[in-house]
Structure formats: C-alpha cells, structure tokens
C-alpha cells in the first residue's frame, strides 16, 4: 500500500507541468454542469445511506467495521477511478476497454461538461458499485481483504463494465439500454456480493444443522430507516442526474417521478407480501422493497411512463422478498439483502427495458409489450448475462487471490467477539450494555 502512495507522489511531481495546461478545454454549458454536480453530490451522499443501512442491519459488534469499509471503499474508488478507472471506462471506443486518460491526463469530458464535473459524477457511481458488496459480505470479511477488493473493483472491474455499456464498448454499440445503471452499478455490485458471500460462507450460527436459517437481527432500525431515506434522496441524483444535462426538462421530470413512484410501489408491495407471508409487516423487508423498486427503475426510468414505473416497482418489491427467501433456502448468507435488492432487481430493471421500453420516450426500440418484439429484450438479456458472467468470473478470481494472499475471513474468535474489536480495537457503542448471545 505504501508503494502505491509513493507512486502517486512520484507521478505527481513528474506530471505537474503537464496538468496545468489541461484546463479550459472547449465550451461547457453552465446549467448542465450545475445539474450534474448537484446530482453527483446526491450520489455521493448515497455512501452515507449505504453506511447507515448496512450498519443498522448488522449486529452492534460489527457496526464500526462496516462503516469503516463504506468510508474506505469510497476513498479508494476516488483515487482508483482517478488513476485507472476513468481511463478504462471512457478512454476511447474499444469494444472491451478504454486505453487512455490515466490520471485524467489527455482526455476530455463529454460535450458540454467539464471533465472534472463528469468525473465526479462517474466516480460517485463507481463508489456505489463498490460499496454494495460490503453489506453482502458483512460481519465476517477481513478488513484488509476488503481494501484489496475495493481497489480491484473500483479501478478495474466496474470501469470495464462501464465501458461496455456507457463508454462506447460492445454493448453500447448493440444499443443495450441501461439509463442509470441497473446493470452497470447494481448487477455488478450485487453479483460481486453474491460470489463474495458464497466464498466467505455463512456467518457462525446463521444456519442450523438442519439447514434452517437462524434469526440474526440488525441492531438499529432507526439507522436503517435513515439510510433508506438518504438512499432514496441520493437516487434523485442517480437517475435524474444520468440525463447528464438539463437540456430536456421533461425528461428529467419524467425520470424523477418514475424513480419516486417505483420506490413507493416497491415498498408497499414488499410490505404487503412480507405481511402475508410472515404475518407481520417487517420494517427491514419493507425498506428493502423500496430499495428494490429504486434499483429496478434505474435502467428504464427514462423510457417508461409512471404507470409502468408503478408496475416495475411492485414486481421489484415482490422479487426482493422472494430473493431474500431464496437465498435463505440456498443457504447463502447475505446479511443486508445486497443480492436480493441489487442483484435480482438489477436484472429485473434491465429486462424491464426490453419489456416496457417505448421508442417515443427515447428507448432504442419499443419493448415486447409495446409491440417491439423480442429484439430489445434479447439485447438486454445478453447484456445482463454477459455482465453477470464477467463479474462472477473475475470476482471469483479476485476473491480467491485475496484469500490466498491475506485471507478473506476473520477467525472464529474474532467473529464471535465482533469485528469492531478484532479489526479496529474499538467498540461502536462504548458504554452501552449490549446483550449478545451469538
């Protein structure tokens, strides 16, 4: 890690004279820039949302650890996406990856936006993809392993997928449509979490010898609720900001209403289903339902009407509840529902484009239910499957390598005592009496 730093400092001194000339390229649009920056701030704030949701859903003894992971993955994404990521994602029209613009050197932003404004928006997205994984692998993953993983996903894996879809790569050439990242961000994060949590194995005590899941409750529902509100707010940057400008206010407004209404429907659907299935309306599942709606509307938010957004949200809420259940049945332990929320609904949102997209609203072509046939649906399916294969394959290698290098999982003793003490030598709630029997 230290050498990485010296590398920075060295490059820095070396490139100093070059950098100063990069400023003031081309003409930029002030309103568009302002919009993208504000959207970037909101997307950045989603880190706080993820932090609170994930911290609230784990036990008190692991809260500081997950917050530390959340904070650090964004920091690492900021640096990694600066040095490598942006270049890989936007450095030219190669089918597979970008090839120039390391350290943002010798590269421009899109028309009308300053490079640095576009970068911060993209970097915030990159941080989001990285942070999803923290939750799925919570309560047992080593901190050093997490740092290494963060570097790889934010500097390499995510940018490559981003390049395919948003950076001029092969999927964007096929007219694969993912407006704000159901696939780019959420499928990537969700499936990285899935493979990670499978490799890590379940938490001690999560499954009984007979395979039935045990009750391990999160330690702070207020944090979870706060986190979901923050994420919902952040999504108003995530989706509407993905217009990358304010040239079409109608479009921005449509994206906004769809985002909001899909989240609301997801929460209601999730609540009702959980109520029916388990007898009581479960707060954590309801909140997961809202997030599921948000994830699902992320790809199609620009190209559907609010009525369709409601439908997409309802199905997302339902899929999320079943997703949580399926994982329990498969004995995959995903403490915060990262896979059910981001993985499953990332797929659903991407596919929804092929079902409900309307060319008149800007879709590449009409979806299946609007008479456009199976073409777009096929492209969407191809895209999402490719991304899943790439993520699962590459992350499997990454996690295995990290495991061999430093180990993925903490010791049993540390897990029982809590990662806060084990990894950071501290308690999250110093002085509070906490009753724990796991």
């Amino acid at each position: 890690m230290k050498c990485l730093f010296f590398l920075f400092i060295f490059t820095l001194i070396f490139t100093m004279p070059v950098m100063a000339q990069d400023m003031n390229i081309g003409s930029v649009n002030a309103l568009d820039t302002l919009w993208v920056l504000i959207a970037a701030f909101l997307v950045f704030f989603m880190q706080a949302g993820f932090g609170m949701v994930e911290a609230g859903l784990v036990r008190a003894k692991n809260a500081a650890n997950i917050l530390m992971k959340n904070m650090l993955d964004f920091c690492i994404a900021s640096i990694g996406f600066f040095i490598f990521g942006y270049a890989l994602m936007f450095g030219g029209n190669g089918a597979l990856l970008g090839t120039y613009g390391w350290f943002l050197n010798g590269i421009k932003g899109p028309d009308g936006l300053p490079l640095y404004a576009f970068w911060i928006f993209q970097a915030a997205f990159c941080g989001t993809a990285a942070t999803i994984v923290a939750g799925g692998m919570a309560e047992r993953m080593k901190f050093t392993a997490y740092l290494l993983y963060s570097i790889v996903i934010s500097a390499f894996i995510y940018p490559i997928i981003g390049h395919w879809i948003w950076g001029g790569g092969w999927l964007s050439n096929l007219n694969f449509h993912d407006f704000a990242g159901s696939t780019v961000v959420h499928v990537t994060g969700g499936f990285a979490a899935l493979i990670g949590t499978i490799l890590l194995k379940p938490r001690i005590g999560k499954f009984n010898p007979d395979g039935s899941p045990n009750f391990i409750a999160g330690h702070s529902m207020p944090l979870v609720a706060l986190g979901v509100f923050i994420l919902w707010l952040g999504w108003f940057g995530f989706n509407p900001g993905s217009t990358l400008g304010f040239g079409d206010p109608e479009l921005v407004a449509r994206v906004t209403i769809n985002t909001n209404i899909a989240a609301a429907s997801g929460a209601i659907a999730g609540m009702l289903l959980a109520w029916g299935k388990y007898g009581k309306p479960d707060l954590a599942l309801t909140l997961n339902g809202a997030l599921a709606g948000l994830v699902a509307i992320t790809a199609p938010c620009a190209i559907v009407t609010p009525m369709i957004a409601i439908l997409i949200g309802i199905i997302a809420g339902v899929l999320c509840i079943f997703g949580v259940r399926w994982l329990d049945l498969l004995k995959v332990d995903d403490p915060v529902g990262a896979v059910a929320v981001h993985g499953v609904n990332g797929i659903w949102g991407t596919v929804a484009v092929g079902l409900f997209g309307q060319a008149v609203l800007g879709a590449p072509r009409n979806g299946l239910l609007f008479g456009g046939g199976f073409t777009q649906l096929g492209i969407q399916a191809l895209g999402v499957v490719s991304v899943i294969l790439f993520v699962v394959g590459s992350m499997w290698i990454v996690f295995k390598t990290i495991d061999a290098m430093v180990g993925l999982r903490v010791s049993e003793k540390e897990e029982l005592q809590g990662l806060d003490i084990g990894e950071h030598g501290m308690e999250s709630y110093s002085g509070f009496e906490i009753f724990t029997t796991e």
Binding site: P213, N214, F215, I216, A217, G218, A274, K277, Y278, G279, K280, D282, A284, L285, N288, I321, V324, R325, D328, G337, E433, F435
Partner: protein
C-alpha cells in the same frame, strides 16, 4: 439479616417502590434481567426468519433487611407486583451474614438501613 431478591414485571416497578416506601423500606438495588418462566413468550421475525423469544424483560430487586423487616418487605413486594397474571414473578430469600456501609465502615444491623 436477609437478602431479598425479587423478580417482577417491569411495569410494576413504580407500584412496588410505592408499597415498599409505605412500609419504610427505602433502600433497594434494581437491575434489568431477562426471565424465562411460565409466562408465554412471543414471536419475532427479522427479514422473514422467525424466532421464538422466551427470555422476557424483568426487573430484579435486591433488598437487604433486618429480620423484623422480612415479612413486611415480602408483603410490600407482593402487594405492588401482583396482577394475578402469569409472569408476576418470584421472591427469593437468602441469609445475609454481614453488611458493611462503605462510607462509615459500620457493620451489621446498623449498616443495613
């Protein structure tokens, strides 16, 4: 001297304190415990996983008294804590061999109150 330990329902604590005061028992030590007894537990569920909670919130009182206060204290606790429903609690009585007031070093009966 005796040490009286009572396990009661949390929401009866104000009533128990009141009836103890009426019997001139002013010194008590209170703590939070979880109890498992005849009272039925309840179901919790988190993210779809059910869980039977059988350790219920209770309050534990510790009262050291001289012999002549034992029965009044018991009566007071019963009086304050009794609602005639399962879960009302128990009183345990143990022999207390010595009692020391830290501030003064006094021992025995004089130290207890």
């Amino acid at each position: 001297m005796k040490l009286i330990v009572a396990i009661i329902q949390p929401h009866q604590l104000p009533a128990v304190k009141k009836s103890l005061y009426e019997k001139q028992v002013y010194k008590i030590t209170v703590s939070n415990v979880l109890g498992c007894g005849e009272e039925k537990g309840y179901q919790e569920s988190f993210r779809g996983v059910q869980h039977e909670v059988d350790l219920l919130k209770k309050i534990r009182l510790e009262i050291a008294v001289n012999e002549d206060f034992v029965e009044p204290t018991i009566a007071a606790v019963v009086d304050g804590a009794r609602t005639n429903t399962v879960g009302d609690g128990k009183i345990f009585i143990m022999d207390l061999q010595e009692c020391i007031r830290i501030r003064t070093g006094e021992r025995g009966n004089r130290a207890i109150g």
